[in-house]
Symmetry: C2
Subunit: 313 residues, 2 copies
Amino acid sequence: MTITETAAFLKTLDRVLILTHVRPDGDTVGSAAALCQALRDLGKEAYLLYNPEITATYAPYAAPYRAGEGFTPAHVVAVDVAAPGLLPENAMRYVNSVELCIDHHPSNSGYAQRTCLDASAAAAGEIVCAVIRELTPLTPAIALPLYVAIATDCGCFQYANTTANTHRIAAELMELVDVSAVNKALFRTKSKVRLAMESRMVADMELFDNDRVVVMQIPLAMRQAYNATEADVEELSSLAALVEGTDCGITLRELKPGTVKISVRSGARVDACAACAALGGGGHRAAAGATVEGTMDQAKAAILEAVAHVAEA
Amino acid sequence: MTITETAAFLKTLDRVLILTHVRPDGDTVGSAAALCQALRDLGKEAYLLYNPEITATYAPYAAPYRAGEGFTPAHVVAVDVAAPGLLPENAMRYVNSVELCIDHHPSNSGYAQRTCLDASAAAAGEIVCAVIRELTPLTPAIALPLYVAIATDCGCFQYANTTANTHRIAAELMELVDVSAVNKALFRTKSKVRLAMESRMVADMELFDNDRVVVMQIPLAMRQAYNATEADVEELSSLAALVEGTDCGITLRELKPGTVKISVRSGARVDACAACAALGGGGHRAAAGATVEGTMDQAKAAILEAVAHVAEA
């Protein structure tokens, strides 16, 4: 569906429930919150389904829109959710009734009845912004979560997905709302625990494939030793992508004994999405993930083999 | 001088030498390179005075414009140089003949015959961009160094100096040139030495003033132990500003025995510029510096006292 068709479809809805994805990031939460506020500005009832995995970082953006027990939705919309398997457990009852998905993942499975997809967008928030523009004026209450959505998914305009359009939208949003506190909190603040964990990950990092591939690990034991919160470990996978001389940063995070979340950040030589897809995951070419069963060592061996298989010489 | 007056003045010049500041950063080098290219596009002879302290990070942007032995300038222009004392030693012979300074430092001493100052600009590059627009069309050769100038001085759009205008200029430049490799190199790459030094600085950091002020140190011995290059230590002062719960990050770097470079990054409670001015330095409210004589401990005591003096309760 085009932006205009999507906006027209949303206009026909009321009593809308908006779904976000597991391990919610700024894009899914911010996009959902902005869309919810826009629908409310149109006089509609709209809520976000509570996401049980939301962290303290993003909870404040979702809180004003949280659906209560008494809300019975007439329509269900998902934002930034590429596949039904990425819905949180409490959203699974809606898995076959998602009427619209707004997304920017090229790997979107097409599970929704209608999909508004733009894989060139740095964030789902860019698409949501374009849709909202056709519905109702942008306000500070819409601009703030949209900025969070867009800025977080492009690493505050550092990642290769950032386009001129990303900057133009940011300029438009910054005319409406002061984002300096948000930038400080999201991009220029690290807890002492996080700084200590990063130091440990750097000390323990391993290099492979002629030092082009770096692997960092976050075992459960490390997390427990530092008494780290979920917010402390959020986005820790970006650290591996920083190491000079490497073009593929792999982070292995032990979610629970026997389950490992693999994150891959890659340059042009390695298709991160293809490597993760081989292990049942997905994402973008330069940033993808997969969750696998097994030990940390097994996960490491599996992803290194998958990366070697898809990498250019 | 206004942008228009500055552009009109530049049109009257030829055989122009452009000066950059000591410990050159992306803004002074990128702004100078872009201005030099624009003047050449107008058919003028223009060069950058070689800056002996330029690091490998920024040298490629200056190299195409380096003045040779045979060049005798008729006019001298400085960009991002707030005071005569910030000129490199080889530029000191021009200190009394700078005809124009384009700058964004509120502390600019007014040493040049003409000053085009906009303290609201995140980077001198924003002002240079506005001046160039009135002179000649933006080209990829101008856009790339301008992007470097602007993106480095606003921490890739993360710092509080970033405005809607900063994003609008970035959008315009990104229409002309692909900046993804630049963003990767400047903002998402850390040498192994740098990562190790950061770990060490984190392990050794000290907190003061009810844990609101953090001090990190880069003694000469540490730099020697890691065999660190100038590029390895560049911008290391941004690390102290990340520590959660603090709002004043101080970095002490021993330049040579008995000489310490102090960098301060601060939130609203502390005027970094005022604190550094008390020690003979200057800069911006949220980011300033000073170079003092003495030991690391003496420098630490001096800057902590200066910060305490200017800080709000």
